[in-house]
């Protein structure tokens, strides 16, 4: 901010009218956008504090009823904390491993020259476009075969589902990271080489460290993606104890006449809070993570 004022020494002398015309209206617009971006969230927070069963008419923050939260945390029918633990384990492992493996592949695509590099890159993006939700039968088939031969990674296991998630997330992750690796000057690699570094040392000690914030963001995005998966998790797990938050919270909505809408809201608030906090605190890096190298041309 001080920097800005140094550039505009006359900022204080401006008339209020001119200030409003240039900057002030943007504050008003910002408030409108904030209202737009947050009203569903405010609604769900408020709903979680009511004792409504269904979607009834209600006044925002007309009630402060915290029983939904305590119920959800203690209910034996809806073991929310177990769901959270399952989800965090699944999403955490998937995020870390997929980022690691994508980064390995991205290094090869960005730094090494080999036959089939360009087609490989294209194939990576295109294979992502297969409507994988329609491939569920195949995924189920693979997992049930694994259940027979290697039960540790078969149906109903976290390890099995993590493998499926990994297979699905590598293409996009690799492509984004490839773009980002390209923005790191090759001269760094050359300098390290002169110092006697091997390719693994160049990779781990130089490139990975430089892109660490991006890796964190990619991991976060992968985490959110896994967190939000309903379909795969619902075919792999079939007891309440194994459920993820997405599958579990769906239980609360499964019966349209059940009185669980407010409890669902409480679950939604609790499960999304950690993600929102992480997301907002990593915001600075997120743009880079999303655009990869694309915007740096």
């Amino acid at each position: 901010m001080t920097n800005v004022q140094a550039h505009h020494p006359n900022v204080r002398r401006r008339s209020a009218g001119r200030w409003f015309k240039q900057v002030g209206w943007k504050h008003i617009l910002a408030l409108v956008v904030i209202a737009y971006a947050t009203f569903p969230l405010v609604y769900i927070v408020s709903t979680s504090l009511t004792n409504m069963g269904g979607i009834e008419n209600f006044t925002l923050f007309g009630q402060f009823y915290t029983k939904n939260y305590s119920d959800l945390l203690t209910s034996p029918d809806y073991p929310f904390l177990t769901w959270m633990k399952n989800t965090v384990t699944l999403a955490g492992f998937t995020a870390v491993i997929s980022v690691f493996i994508s980064a390995l592949a991205a290094f090869a695509f960005s730094r090494l020259r080999f036959k089939g590099r360009r087609p490989g890159l294209l194939a990576l993006i295109l294979i992502q476009m297969f409507p994988s939700i329609l491939g569920l039968t195949a995924v189920y088939g693979i997992l049930s075969k694994l259940t027979d031969y290697v039960p540790a990674i078969g149906l109903g296991t976290k390890a099995g589902l993590i493998l499926v998630y990994l297979g699905g997330s590598l293409g996009g992750g690799t492509y984004l990271m490839y773009g980002f690796f390209n923005t790191i000057p090759k001269e760094l690699d050359e300098a390290a080489k002169i110092d006697g570094a091997t390719h693994t040392q160049i990779y781990f000690k130089i490139i990975l460290r430089l892109v660490a914030p991006v890796l964190a963001v990619m991991a976060l995005l992968s985490f959110i993606g896994t967190f939000g998966d309903y379909v795969l998790a619902s075919i792999v797990f079939n007891t309440t104890d194994q459920y993820t938050v997405a599958v579990g919270l769906n239980l609360l909505l499964a019966d349209p006449w059940s009185k669980n809408w407010a409890m669902f809201a409480a679950g939604a608030v609790m499960s999304s809070l950690p993600i929102v906090i992480l997301f907002v605190s990593l915001q600075k890096y997120i743009t880079n993570g999303l655009t990869g190298g694309a915007v740096k041309g």
């Binding site: 910002a30 979607i55 590598l170 091997t198 743009t287 655009t291």
Partner: protein, 542 residues
């Protein structure tokens, strides 16, 4: 060629650290130990072809990492292996399934279908006795039925294996003891099971068939529905192994196996049972997609809407995101960082939760939008958001706009900040208006750098299952007379999902797979050519 050599030199040589080498040996060792374990399990289960395949993959991995050179493979192997196992395989498998009739009615192999048909069709033998029964277990664990014929007081016993434990009348010679009412209470070498013990038998006692003679098919068998009463039953259909046909005992009609359709069907075209087996059907699933009149009507509408939905989703989110990015890319605004953090909250909130929340808010009678936000319109003018085609389509676009604009805002902001300041400043000095700077300088540059992401976004929304399925379920379903259940907001993927996994028609994986192959080819080629074009665009501008 020179380039490749230079590259090779850049990433080869150097002195590997001890730690690195140890880590490599350790990781490879863990992988090999895991593979060894799985191999032993596979060999133990006599899955030799699987074991060989698995072993070869393991050898390949070791070769990649232990040899000198071949650097790209070292970095690509983990990703490629997972990708092949869980993505490429899925694509190939779906391709194969699309040429079969695999589905709820054609679930398994011929022998599985045979079994299922016979087991499902059992009828009591006419005029046969009904028994009161008990379950006994011998020392070696064999389960047998002990049955009392109440009409004459005789007691019979037998097990599932006719050769070992044939159905016969039990006499006192076998240590039979009966109580006052004539019910058996003891037999030498047999333990009478309690109700709890009976209900814990695996598989359930109702699955037991006690043969009345050496041939289960013709002699019939004893079965029970509740473990208290037992009847003499027979299969309704008799299978002829040589002719590959089923005979229905009630009218002696013969149903030969039709390997083109995967059903037992007689000369009148009557199907013996809804249960069929999986057969290859050639192009018939594809023909159905292009030729079936019942399908063609709703399908053309759905395809059109899918394109419209994907395009409008990208367009609206991009316009809103870009506008906000342009307006708020302004360091003079105090609290800018906080604003931006709040703007992207919808992106941080898990999308499946948002979809449910919106579905609740869009409820016509009680939804937050009609009641509170649009409450001023009064109860008579509520908008039936999810109940009419037009409003439902607007609603899903609205939801998708809310879900998607933060992403566009983020990438547009990033792209804007990457545009060198001197460019826009120079234009400003030349007297260009802010709007002109945006239109003539910023926008073209943005489009070049963001084009690949916009294409990806189009492809994503083309198959955006969650945004439709979780909000409207594809509905409203306004035309229930259609044979094919097509909803007003159905995009291709939600429509096909319903075909694949249930709904009134019953699961049809073959047809769904044919669809998925076509969708893949469609969106893949659109993306492919768009990527090619944008790459050309990029080279032109640079």
């Amino acid at each position: 060629m020179r380039k490749r050599n230079k590259n090779f030199e850049l990433y080869s040589g150097g002195t590997p650290s001890l730690r690195g080498t140890l880590a490599k040996i350790l990781i490879l060792g863990i992988v090999d130990a895991g593979v060894g374990f799985v191999l032993m399990v596979l060999i133990g289960k006599h899955k030799i072809s699987f074991a060989v395949f698995f072993g070869l993959v393991a050898l390949l991995i070791n070769w990649i990492y232990l040899r000198r050179g071949g650097l790209p493979a070292k970095y690509l192997a983990p990703g490629v292996i997972l990708l092949i196992a869980f993505q490429v395989y899925v694509v190939i498998f779906s391709g194969y399934i699309s040429f079969t009739n695999y589905g709820a009615l054609h679930n398994g192999s011929y022998t599985e279908a045979l079994d299922a048909i016979q087991q499902a069709a059992v009828e009591p033998i006419e005029g046969a006795t009904e028994y009161e029964m008990k379950v006994v277990k011998s020392k070696d664990g064999t389960i047998q039925f002990v049955a009392l014929d109440t009409t004459n007081g005789k007691i019979y016993m037998g097990g599932q294996d006719y050769a070992q434990h044939p159905w016969h009348e039990v006499t006192t010679a076998e240590g039979l003891v009966v109580d006052d009412s004539g019910h058996p209470t003891a037999i030498t070498g047999q333990v009478f099971l309690s109700d709890d013990e009976v209900s814990s038998i695996d598989p359930g006692i109702t699955a037991y068939k006690i043969p009345l003679g050496p041939n289960l098919d013709t002699d019939g068998f004893i079965a029970t529905a509740d473990a208290f009463y037992a009847q003499q039953n027979r299969f309704s259909y008799i299978y002829d192994k040589d002719k590959r046909s089923m005979t229905r005992l009630s009218d002696n009609k013969v149903f030969p196996a039709d390997d083109a359709k995967g059903f037992f069907e007689n000369s009148d075209g009557e199907i013996l049972s809804e249960i069929g087996w999986q057969v290859r059907v050639g192009w018939s699933n594809y023909k159905k997609i292009f030729g079936d009149k019942e399908l063609r009507g709703p399908l053309s509408g759905i395809i059109l809407w899918t394109f419209l939905f994907a395009f409008l989703s990208v367009f609206t989110t991009f316009v809103l995101g870009l506008t906000l990015a342009l307006i708020f890319n302004d360091e003079r605004i105090r609290g800018l960082k906080i604003y931006r953090a709040i703007f992207i909250l919808p992106y941080a909130f898990p999308a499946f939760l948002s979809a449910y929340v919106w579905r609740g808010m869009l409820n016509t009678e009680n939804g937050f939008i009609n009641r509170s936000i649009l409450g001023f319109m009064g109860p008579d003018h509520r908008i039936p958001w999810l109940e009419q085609q037009g409003t439902a389509r607007i609603a899903v676009l609205m939801v998708n706009l809310w879900l998607g604009f933060p992403y566009m805002l983020l990438i547009c902001t990033g792209a804007l900040q990457a545009i060198p300041n001197d460019l826009t400043e120079a234009a400003g000095i030349d007297g260009a208006s802010p709007w002109k700077i945006v239109r003539l300088i910023k926008l073209p540059l943005l489009l070049v750098s963001l084009a690949p992401l916009l294409i990806a976004s189009f492809a994503y929304n083309f198959n955006n299952f969650g945004a439709i399925y979780l909000v409207t379920g594809g509905g409203p379903f306004l035309n229930p007379t259609l044979k094919v259940n097509a909803g007003a907001t159905d995009i291709l993927i939600t429509f096909v999902y319903r075909i694949a996994f249930g709904g009134a028609q019953g699961a049809d994986y073959g047809l769904a797979s044919a669809f998925s192959v076509l969708i893949f080819m469609l969106i893949g080629s659109i993306s492919f050519f768009s990527f090619k074009r944008t790459r050309g665009l990029e080279e032109l501008t640079q």
